[in-house]
Amino acid sequence: MSDIVVRAESLGKTYGDFRALKGISFSIKAGQCFGFLGHNGAGKTTTMRMMYGMSTVDEGKLWLFDQSFRLTPPAVKARLGVVPQEDNLDDDLTVIENLEVYGLIYGLPRGESQQRGKELLAFMGLEDKEHNSIESLSGGLKRRLVIARALMNAPDIVILDEPTTGLDPQARHLVWQKLRSLKAEGVTLVLTTHYMEEAVQLCDSLVVMHEGNILAEGSPQHLIETYVRPYVVEVHLPLSQVPENLTDKVANWGGEVTQVLDSVFLYADDGEKLWDNLDCWGLPKQACLLRAANLEDVFLKLTGMGEEA
């Protein structure tokens, strides 16, 4: 068996006359954290659903553990852990019962399921919530419980569809920390996100998706080096106060200007010189911010959200 655990070739999906996924190809190595970055409607969730058997593979091919299928067979699902976008916890059961019952679905004997449930509650920092109702949990706690549930069968791959959407910063960092320790144990993580920071924090490799296509692939660092210049000046001025011909002036100097909705960004290879030039382009420095380019810049550039000004 190769060390590729997930592979897709020209994977497509059409709902009625809407082509949600337009033939994407990718491969995920064992032990990696692989990210799908894109905004809502990019095709991330569709791809995840095909992996864990909630959607059929009608176009192209998808392999999990070297096995291709139209609908993920139970034997493959037995090796996956799934954290869906919505918290579909069982409201009729308590916190620990949610885990125990889920273990039974995987065919764990009752005693073992109970034992494992308790271990995972401890791992996710939920020990003191063992007998709580689901209703009484905050969004962050629910999310942690969904992750604990996905680990009941000691999966080889954990699929996380927007694991931290809607969580506050503390809760998000805690989830990230737990995911890192899973990765350290050798579990393959496949996640979707629209948070750039999450992708940078967790992913070894990622694909940028937009309108059903993959636009770029690589490590966060590689993408930043390949697609954008290393330095950025954010111009915090209303568009009406941005000098005319700015684009031409910056371009003549050797930089680039991108406009995202009402914000203007200047890109250059040399940050200091870029900063020094602001005055002569008529940009007040107090309204500007110089920083290193990041994944967000890559994303905006690739998805065309940042129109070339």
Partner: protein
């Protein structure tokens, strides 16, 4: 068998709610039994050689079982499918839609049998059971339990809105219940209606329950049981197909 894992989930829930659940399902048949049996019954001289209470009592067992299976696989299944997303959560595990449908049917059939049994105990205590054959009633209730839960889950698979269950109850269950031989013999109905009754599943269930309660065992009962079994067998693949359409896109 994977369906047993789904059933185990439902039983984990049932262990918490059994008391209120049984009480709720126990009161309604008891109301009918007293209002019809003791109330209306005083004006009825004789029903095929029985008192009116004796006549309707086995029908109460059959109908209680029918309502239990029907409610579980309409409202219960609908909530799990659309609100709680229990099915979706389970489907991420190593089970198929067929397992999930089978697990739900098993649970509804179990409840159907149990609620039928509760009413059977009540009518026995009231002295309305004439034969030891009656102990076979709970066992028999598995068959209509399967048929009614499958009918209900097929309907659940077809509707998008919880309000649609009003139609199922008002336009199907209630008429089926009223014209099933529970309250009056079907041979008092016009000939065409007597023919139509044969497609009414509760009619077959009532016939068997009454025969067992009276100890009136005859080969005709196999025909009634057969109709229900054929119905269940035909509906299972339909239910799986309908639920698959809802769950897997």
């Amino acid at each position: 068998m994977e369906a047993m894992r789904i059933f185990a989930r439902h039983m984990a829930v049932f262990r918490k709610i059994w008391f209120t659940n049984i009480m709720f399902n126990f009161i309604e048949p008891l109301l009918y039994l007293t209002a019809m049996g003791y109330g209306l019954g005083t004006f009825v001289q004789d029903m095929e050689g029985m008192t009116y209470l004796q006549y309707i009592a086995p029908g109460m067992v059959a109908s209680s079982a029918m309502f239990a299976a029907s409610f579980e696989c309409t409202y219960g299944s609908f909530l799990r499918l659309h609100y709680q997303k229990t099915y979706q959560a389970m489907l991420a595990g190593p089970v198929t839609v067929r397992d999930i449908v089978a697990g739900d049917i098993l649970y509804a059939t179990f409840k159907s049998m149990l609620f039928g049994l509760v009413i059977l105990v009540v009518i026995s205590v009231l002295g309305q059971v004439q034969s030891w054959w009656a102990v076979a009633i709970p066992l028999f209730l598995v068959i209509p339990g399967l048929a009614f839960s499958l009918l209900a889950i097929c309907y659940t698979g077809m509707v998008a809105n919880i309000d649609n269950f009003n139609y199922y109850i008002t336009l199907f269950l209630t008429p089926a219940y009223l014209f099933s031989g529970v309250f009056f013999p079907i041979n008092s109905m016009p000939g065409w209606a007597q023919a139509v009754v044969w497609i009414n599943p509760i009619f077959h269930s009532v016939e068997i329950c009454r025969a067992l309660a009276l100890g009136n065992i005859n080969p005709g009962l196999l025909v009634h049981a057969g109709v229900l079994m054929v119905l269940a067998a035909l509906l299972m693949p339909v239910a799986v197909r309908l639920l698959t359409k809802r769950l897997i896109v």
